[in-house]
Symmetry: C2
DNA sequence: AGCTGGTTTATCTTTCTCGGTAAAATAGTG
DNA sequence: CACTATTTTACCGAGAAAGATAAACCAGCT
């Protein structure tokens, strides 16, 4: 029960990342050189197995010449739509 | 020459984070309870001193009921606007 | 001044990222 | 089938994130 917010997030960002890289016909090694991030690390991120740091995502986004938010795109969880926590539900009111 | 992409990124996200939290009149401790992230950790993130992981930002965004991209908002670097790297310029062509 | 609430800083431990390297998979091609 | 390119997985070591806690600041207020 380590609690992973949404296992989709990482996989989602990874998917998007891979798509963007494919668009520019870059291999992991090429992107690795561009970003300074090793190809294995990039692979883990793209496959949603690694929880990258913000600056790491920023480096990748910069190399791909897209804004960082392009990686998160329309991940409009907004929490009120009820995407997660069916039984969790923080309530705000409970803490105020 | 470890090169920190843009020292602004973290400070920027932190600033945005703090604004969102203020909007809901939440203290660091309250947000800490909501997110499961300790108040000191939140403080470091908000002051731009910590390079948070993606899921960490996602937890905070969820607690604040905003999409994750709201934290990165209009950080449209896009590299063509020329916000950063005056002397960096990876060239893509060099690696292809 | 003393207090109180909020934020920051510091220290410590655990966990994880990240680069490096090397070894397996997984294509794709002759 | 062999050969090559690309990706994935596995291990290692260094560094950093994140939780906990405690202490230091910094308001505001009686």
């Amino acid at each position: 029960m380590t609690m992973e917010i949404e296992p989709n997030l990482l996989a989602d960002v990874g998917r998007r990342l891979r798509a963007l890289r494919a668009d520019q016909d870059l291999t992991l090694e090429q992107l690795a050189r561009l970003t300074g991030i090793s190809a294995p690390a990039l692979s883990l991120i793209e496959t949603g197995k690694r929880d990258a740091r913000l600056t790491t995502l920023a480096k990748i986004a910069a190399a791909l010449r897209v804004p960082v938010m392009a990686l998160l795109a329309d991940h409009a969880d907004d929490a009120s739509t009820g995407d997660d926590a069916p039984a969790e539900g923080y309530d705000l009111g409970d803490y105020l």
